[in-house]
């Protein structure tokens, strides 16, 4: 028997807990998508931030002022930017139905054509492709603060009635949100960058926090397959919570000096060693 080639030895780094969790989660997602397709009226708890997106667009329509949509400042290799495009398509569709002006400033050259196509598609889906014009998607700069200054300028000059900040934001989050507040916009923000969440919570009317941001299209489209993924997330979170609670319980017993049954302690040790990746 010949030995395996040298390069094949030790190239795997299975990170078993991550791999198992990923496979389990993917399986759960697929299973619940299947279930959701059979039961399309699946209940998911209402999110005020999502409803607020439509309210904000309605308000802008009534006031005859534009809707400003900022898709974050990261490139398309960030999942938040991709997802922001998905939300943008829904926003563009809604805006086109009402005939409200839309402005989309972008911070990355790569995001610009993507945003243009997304808005065009949203308008087409609403049956109004003729609403598209060059001034909707505006490439500002790849530089963070040059982009911020330019976007703040738009907010102060064009005074949008609704500002939607959806995507990956950094230090500019509060600058944009505060300027929007000063301009009197109703503001809905969504990001998974947890360090920017406090700024958005303080300065915006509604904030989609972390996972809520990634759930937006499921709520907006009510597509069964997307609703299934929300359920899968909830299910997996419940599993994580159960593990955490079990660990907390056994750890607390040990700390209190209460004798822990060998089996429970054994499971705890195994889980602790295994999950400590």
């Amino acid at each position: 028997m010949t030995a395996p080639p040298r390069w094949a030895v030790g190239i795997f780094d299975l990170k078993l807990p991550v791999l198992v969790a990923l496979v389990l989660f993917t399986a759960l997602v697929l299973l619940l998508i299947f279930v959701a397709k059979r039961r399309p009226n699946m209940y998911i708890r209402p999110l005020a931030g999502i409803t607020a997106i439509e309210e904000a667009i309605g308000r802008a329509t009534e006031m005859g002022r534009p809707v400003l949509y900022v898709p974050g400042i990261d490139d398309v290799n960030n999942i938040q930017t991709i997802y922001s495009m998905v939300i943008l398509e829904h926003v563009a569709k809604k805006v086109a139905q009402y005939g409200t002006p839309l402005i989309v400033p972008t911070c990355r050259a790569f995001v610009t054509p993507m945003a243009e196509e997304t808005v065009k598609q949203g308008f087409t889906n609403a049956g109004s492709p003729e609403l598209w014009h060059d001034g909707i998607v505006r490439y500002m700069s790849d530089e963070q603060f040059a982009f911020t200054a330019a976007t703040n300028g738009i907010i102060l000059r064009e005074r949008p009635a609704a500002t939607l900040l959806m995507g990956s934001f950094y230090a500019e989050s509060l600058m944009l949100a505060e300027t929007g507040f000063m301009a009197g916009s109703i503001q809905v923000a969504g990001t998974a960058n947890i360090h920017q969440l406090p700024f958005f919570v303080v300065a915006c009317d509604y904030t989609l926090i972390g996972e809520e941001f990634f759930a937006a299209t499921a709520y907006l489209s009510r597509e069964p397959s997307l609703l299934g993924t929300i359920k899968a997330q909830d299910g997996f979170k419940a599993m994580i919570l159960a593990f955490l609670m079990a660990g907390l319980f056994v750890e607390t017993l040990a700390w209190l000096g209460v004798p822990v049954p060998a089996a429970a302690d054994g499971i705890h040790t195994v889980l602790y060693d295994w999950l400590r990746f």
């Binding site: 990170k15 998508i33 998905v86 230090a171």
Partner: protein, 235 residues
């Protein structure tokens, strides 16, 4: 086929990069003399550089039209176009002889390198960046302090139980973070650390777990083609 090919490519590259997480990149690189993810990242850099042409096209389309029609705020558009033109001219076309470099430092001129490219230290391009753009960037960043103050002022108005909790916690952290706090009560720094390390971290991690699951589930949806609306057409 307009949607199937992009979906297939998304699946292919998505699964490829996920599987790369479970391989030892360094060993693969050493064994095969190259590493496909590195090459794919190089391809991506090349594609990104092409998109700058589209970006510049977008800037020109919008601002030239605005200046030509003398629309509201056309002066800003003219300044944008002038800035764009100046940086492009000095970065790409107008190279400066090394002898008259802007920093005034005598430079040793190697044969064949008598002209300074746009990106070299002391070039006009770099001077614009260092002396014009960088201070403006710092000014913008400095404004953050004022934005934080105005946002904090609104956030700390005690209108509800939650707002009161927030205000009290913030006050504790502010007092505990300065020497005066420790002078008043020696336990303040410890209390501050406890709030930051236990209460804050617990809340932050809960959000982080949810956000990570959301990101993974979005990745799975995109790789498996469940979420297709980013490609255009109905979701």
């Amino acid at each position: 086929m307009r949607r199937e090919i992009p979906l297939f490519l998304t699946f292919l590259f998505g699964t490829f990069f996920v599987s790369m997480n479970f391989l030892q990149g360094d060993r693969l690189r050493e064994a095969t003399g190259g590493f496909l993810p590195d090459q794919i990242n190089d391809w991506m850099s090349i594609i990104i550089s092409f998109t700058y042409v589209l970006g510049v096209g977008n800037v020109l389309r919008i601002h030239v039209k605005k200046v030509a029609r003398r629309e509201n705020g056309w002066g800003y558009s003219a300044a944008t176009l002038a800035g764009l033109a100046a940086m492009m001219i000095y970065g790409l076309i107008l190279w400066i002889p090394l002898g008259i470099a802007f920093d005034g430092q005598p430079a040793s001129v190697e044969p064949g390198r008598e002209w300074m490219t746009g990106m070299q230290t002391g070039s006009v391009f770099n001077w614009f960046y260092d002396a014009v753009y960088t201070p403006m960037q710092s000014t913008m960043y400095a404004l953050l302090a004022f934005f934080i103050s105005s946002a904090a002022f609104r956030a700390f108005r005690v209108r509800s139980f939650q707002a009161a909790l927030l205000a009290v916690t913030a006050l504790l952290l502010i007092v505990g973070g300065v020497p005066l706090g420790e002078t008043v009560w020696s336990g303040f720094p410890e209390l501050t650390s406890w709030v930051m390390e236990i209460l804050q971290t617990a809340g932050k991690r809960a959000i982080l777990i949810g956000a990570a699951l959301g990101a993974i589930s979005t990745g799975v949806k995109i790789i498996l083609g469940v979420e297709k609306s980013y490609l255009g057409g109905r979701a």
